[in-house]
């Protein structure tokens, strides 16, 4: 039975801007973004290891770039992305184990992961700059 197809304006599900902001929603987006950032960052890790294996000259070039203000900015971002993705990822492992799945618990561990990542990023950089004698 051939039905006549006609253009009907069906209701569409609301898109991102319609929803109220929730931390779990933001974390979901940031988890992907930090994941993609870390993906690109592995090229820098490869550069670091290859430079070290290649010899003092190649390593000096890497250190010069890494030590520049833009290099430091990228490394700071990489540190935060790694820690945020790490703590955000631990949340997923908890949820896989059916732990903290209520909306309230999900919000709490999401804020916890966000704050833990920020605090540890600062701690790591405090330690690193102390090592270098800057602080």
């Amino acid at each position: 039975m051939a039905e006549q197809r006609q253009a009907v304006s069906r209701p569409l599900s609301p898109h991102l801007q319609i929803y109220r902001f929730t931390i779990t929603m933001a974390m979901s987006i940031i988890h992907r973004a930090t994941g993609m950032g870390l993906y690109a960052g592995t090229a820098l890790v490869a550069w670091w290891l290859i430079a070290l294996a290649a010899g003092p000259e190649a390593y000096a070039t890497f250190q010069m770039v890494a030590g520049s203000w833009i290099g430091q900015l990228v490394l700071f971002g990489f540190t935060w992305a790694l820690l945020h993705h790490l703590f955000g990822g631990l949340r997923y492992l908890l949820w896989d184990a059916i732990i903290a799945t209520s909306p309230r618990s999900a919000d709490i561990i999401s804020w916890g992961a966000t704050i833990a990542a920020l605090v540890l990023t600062v701690a790591v950089w405090f330690a690193a700059l102390s090592m270098r004698g800057v602080l």
Binding site: R32, G35, M36, L38, Y39, T42, A43, V45, A46, L49, I50, L52, A53, P56, Y59, A60, T79, L82, L83, L86, G89, L90, Y92, L93, D96, V124, A127, A128, L129, M131, R132, G133
Partner: protein, 131 residues
């Protein structure tokens, strides 16, 4: 069997004799397995980075030449490239719709992941054994 109330397959799948390829959950499980491995290894990685901040060439080489550091680095690289390949493929499959672009992106993703991973492994092994 066929026609029983427990058969979840569609009539088309039944006719074509197509069932599950039995590997549908492989990436899902592997993503979580590598995540469990990476969690402690990334702490090792951050400690290594802090320890080597501002270190000269000889010191950095000595650290990476240490067997324990080398083995942990190998573990991290292997777990990380598997994890990141799956993660990026999921993102590609979500957002890249056109079949050609999708498959090319997935191929590029695989090449990048294994390329970077093998480069890291080569460097770590050279630091461990090479002169």
């Amino acid at each position: 069997m066929a026609g029983s109330g427990n058969d979840m397959r569609t009539p088309l799948a039944r006719v074509l004799h197509l069932g599950s390829a039995k590997s549908g959950t492989q990436d899902h499980i592997r993503q979580r397995l590598t995540a469990v491995a990476i969690a402690p290894l990334s702490i090792f990685f951050l400690v290594l980075l802090v320890a080597l901040t501002g270190a000269d060439y000889e010191t950095a080489r000595a650290w990476l030449g240490n067997p324990l550091v080398g083995i942990l680095a190998l573990c991290l690289v292997v777990a990380a490239i598997v994890h990141m390949r799956i993660g990026m493929q999921i993102v590609i499959e979500d957002y890249v719709i056109a079949p050609g672009a999708k498959h090319l992106s997935i191929i590029a993703n695989t090449f990048f992941s294994y390329g970077v991973g093998l480069a890291c492994l080569y460097a770590v092994l050279k630091l461990a054994f090479g002169s």
